[in-house]
């Protein structure tokens, strides 16, 4: 087989070398517990507080407004559960709003809050380009609404959501806004003042940082109950000894990502533009998501009457790493909620394919991929 091609950067990214270099001293040399009083402790604490400041600079927030977590899923879980419970306790209400295209880290947490904690839940639809309509948001807000959670950009089809407008609308009604920025963080500006959100979640491995570390921005004075109780770390909101090397790695990766953003995005647009142009030439193939309002690195499609799981297997056997909307690893044939939410019927929705490019992607790889996808889809249709 010729060299395999990785086109699944939305799933995860390799750790950037400079981020890895930044992490290494904190495994053995600077190994102290940041909570300790002595110099080892102070040195470790210095490392995470510097990292916190670096992340805060990218998010344009105060360092104290960041809770460092184990990743995007934890950040999303904490935002919803922590704020919903605190808002209800403060007598603000009992109603949550989210969307049909959220990552399960949000959607399943919202459902759990509805099913086990007695919250009312509204799940908003999207238009056929995968975007939430402001009118739907406005119509869904009730006097007892406490929290709206809308993702910044969708992981399956890259559609970018009008977060700043949603947040302004929510604020006018005294409702908190959370955004899952996990997929967006590698490519979109994360300025929480411009976005106007109260909470924003990121996970480092999506932007060339290590797996197992993330952050949640929580605007000052946002009601939230602690997610983990114990030693009072993270200002009492998340107890547990800080993962110093990973936090340092996340900060380094995020700083680099912000710095390279424009140049990376321009290159991604060229690469995905070529993919979209060529793959939509295949009969009965369609782009999913918004034609322009999408993450620059994301090209997602549906093919009518194609088994998406089998397409991924065949691409894998051809050396191309791609993804689809459904949980293909377990062989579950159910179409993705997100693709169904776009209005595709099953004959289309089962045949989804997501190709996401990254810093390592070359034009040659894109051309080879176009050839293989076109041939394999043709073979599958016999």
């Amino acid at each position: 087989m010729t060299d395999p091609i990785y086109l699944d950067y939305a799933a995860t990214t390799p750790v950037d070398s400079s981020a890895l270099e930044a992490m290494l001293p904190h495994f053995r040399d600077n190994f102290g517990n940041p909570s300790s009083i002595h110099r080892w402790g102070r040195n470790a604490e210095k490392a995470i507080e510097q990292a916190r400041r670096d992340i805060a600079a990218v998010l344009n927030c105060r360092p104290a407004e960041l809770v460092l977590t184990s990743g995007g899923t934890e950040s999303d879980n904490y935002a919803l559960r922590g704020a919903a419970l605190a808002m209800r306790e403060a007598g603000r209400g009992n109603h949550l709003i989210t969307t049909a295209i959220e990552h399960h880290a949000v959607l399943h947490t919202a459902r759990q809050l509805a099913e086990h904690y007695g919250f009312a839940l509204t799940v908003l639809p999207v238009d056929d380009c995968g975007r939430v309509r402001l009118a739907d948001v406005e119509a869904a807000i009730r006097p007892d609404t406490v929290l709206i959670s809308v993702m910044y950009a969708n992981n399956e089809m890259g559609a970018i959501q009008p977060i700043a407008k949603i947040a302004a609308l929510a604020r006018a009604h005294g409702v908190l806004t959370h955004t899952d920025a996990v997929q967006a963080a590698s490519q979109l500006a994360l300025d929480v003042q411009e976005l106007g959100v109260d909470m924003l979640a990121i996970g480092a491995h999506k932007f060339y940082g290590p797996k197992g570390v993330g952050a949640l921005y929580i605007r000052r004075d946002t009601p939230i109950v602690p997610s983990q109780t114990g030693g009072g770390h993270e200002r009492g909101r998340r107890a547990g000894t800080s993962n110093v090397p990973y936090i340092v790695g996340m900060a380094a990766a995020l700083g680099l990502t912000a710095q390279r953003r424009e140049a990376d995005n321009a290159r991604y647009r060229r690469l995905t533009g070529r993919l979209i142009e060529a793959v939509t030439q295949i009969p009965d193939a369609r782009l999913t998501g918004h034609p322009t309002g999408r993450l620059p690195n994301s090209a997602s499609f549906v093919f009518r009457n194609i088994d998406g799981n089998e397409l991924l297997m065949r691409l894998d056997l051809e050396g191309i790493a791609a993804s689809s909307g459904s949980a293909c690893k377990t062989g579950d044939p159910e179409p993705s909620d997100v693709i169904l939410a776009l209005g595709f019927d099953r004959s289309w929705a089962l045949g989804s394919l997501r190709l996401t490019v990254g810093r390592g992607t070359t034009e040659g790889e894109i051309e080879r991929t176009i050839g293989v996808v076109t041939r394999v889809v043709g073979e599958m249709r016999g």
Partner: protein, 382 residues
């Protein structure tokens, strides 16, 4: 690959022989909403999360790509419905044979071939021998494959025309599974490989140790993979209540002796659990679905020397034209019995047993052998 020892060793052997191997597991239907005794959601025994994890791990050890393919709907339709329909029709069906007929050697074989494979290998204890008919039966498949392999790029599965593929018992008589594979014909056998069939079970265990396979040996089970708790009576009561109708127990003269719980709960030759007190032990002699009656009598009423067999698959392709002598297995674990087979119209045959058998059970498979060679098989008719 099931994650169990046999298919794991099969994969390892093929890899060791230098084949390019792809691991496949099927997601099969299981009772919706059912739970195990421990309260966990019940899964089909063949594809529980643990089994998937095990198989995936084994595949990883040998650098084998591993995919789970969905067959739930087809399995429900061709195996589970067949099972229920069999009981509804007053016979004791063998769903494992149907699974091999429709799922493994049709659906999965086609899937494998469409992925570019030349063969489908399983962990069954059986053997395939390919022989030129004029060479008789004593030419080992391996020698023929090596010696007469088609030149050029022709896939190994495309043997020259005229070659006969035979299904043989495994070398381990106790483990032999040719009974459930008797549904296979030439179109399947030419693509089939049974690597473990050349070994005894103790040798396979030894090989598993040699390959360092982590697979814990699961107890051999004749229970059905789709039952949550191995209780087919409960399954029928819940999923096919129409086949669980209480009715009269009668003797051979038609005299009513008591009530039965549903014909599906009894098998021919059964003595225990009839629930009647009598001077001499009573056995289930037959059922009368028209009257929903269970016919019982003394042991002298059991035993028959003739039976009709339908839906016969002849492994060699052409049905025999004249009566011939061979042996027959009338249940998976039954001993072979000498018999004379008289071919009839419409894939049927009359079978005369040399000695009367007490457990001739309509719905079970009757599988014919000439020594180690499985000639084919069908379903015992009422």
């Amino acid at each position: 690959m099931s994650g169990g020892v046999d298919s794991s060793v099969a994969a390892a052997l093929l890899k060791e022989q230098g084949h390019e191997v792809i691991g496949l597991m099927m997601r099969l239907w299981s009772e919706p909403g059912a739970h195990t005794a421990q309260g966990d959601p019940a899964h089909n025994r063949c594809c529980s999360p643990d089994a998937i994890a095990n198989a995936r791990y084994v595949a990883g050890m040998f650098d084998i790509p591993f995919y789970v393919v969905d067959a739930q709907e087809m399995f429900r339709r061709t195996v589970v419905d067949f099972f229920v329909d069999g009981y509804a029709g007053g016979v004791t069906p063998n769903p494992c044979m149907e699974c091999n007929r429709h799922i493994r050697w049709e659906f999965l074989l086609n899937k494998a071939l469409s992925l570019g494979a030349t063969h489908l290998a399983t962990g069954h204890y059986a053997r395939v021998r390919s022989a030129l008919p004029e060479n008789g039966r004593d030419v080992p498949a391996e020698r023929l494959r090596q010696g007469d392999a088609p030149a050029g790029d022709a896939p190994a599965g495309d043997a020259p025309p005229g070659r006969l593929y035979e299904l043989l018992k495994s070398v381990d008589d106790k483990k032999d599974q040719s009974y459930v594979l008797s549904v296979m014909g030439q179109a399947q056998l030419r693509h089939a490989m049974f690597p473990v069939g050349e070994f005894t079970k103790p040798q396979i265990r030894e090989l598993a140790r040699k390959f360092n396979l982590p697979v814990a040996e699961r107890p051999d089970s004749q229970d059905l993979c789709f039952l949550a708790d191995n209780d087919y009576r409960r399954f029928l009561a819940e999923h096919a209540p129409q086949v669980v109708r209480p009715g009269p127990i009668v003797d051979s003269s038609g005299k009513v002796l008591g009530r039965h719980q549903g014909l599906a709960f009894y098998t021919i030759g059964q003595r225990k659990g009839i629930g009647l007190a009598a001077a001499e032990p009573l056995y289930v002699l037959t059922t009368d679905p028209e009257r929903n009656a269970l016919v019982v009598g003394p042991v002298t009423g059991l035993g028959q020397t003739t039976m009709r067999v339908g839906r016969i698959n002849w492994v060699g392709g052409a049905p025999p034209t004249r009566p011939f002598e061979c042996t027959v297995k009338i249940r998976y674990k039954a001993a072979e019995r000498p018999c004379t087979v008289t071919p009839l119209e419409g894939s049927r045959a009359g079978v005369a047993l040399k000695e009367p058998a007490r457990d001739v059970t309509p719905g079970q498979g009757a599988v014919f052998y000439d020594g180690d060679v499985c000639l084919g098989g069908g379903t015992i008719l009422k």
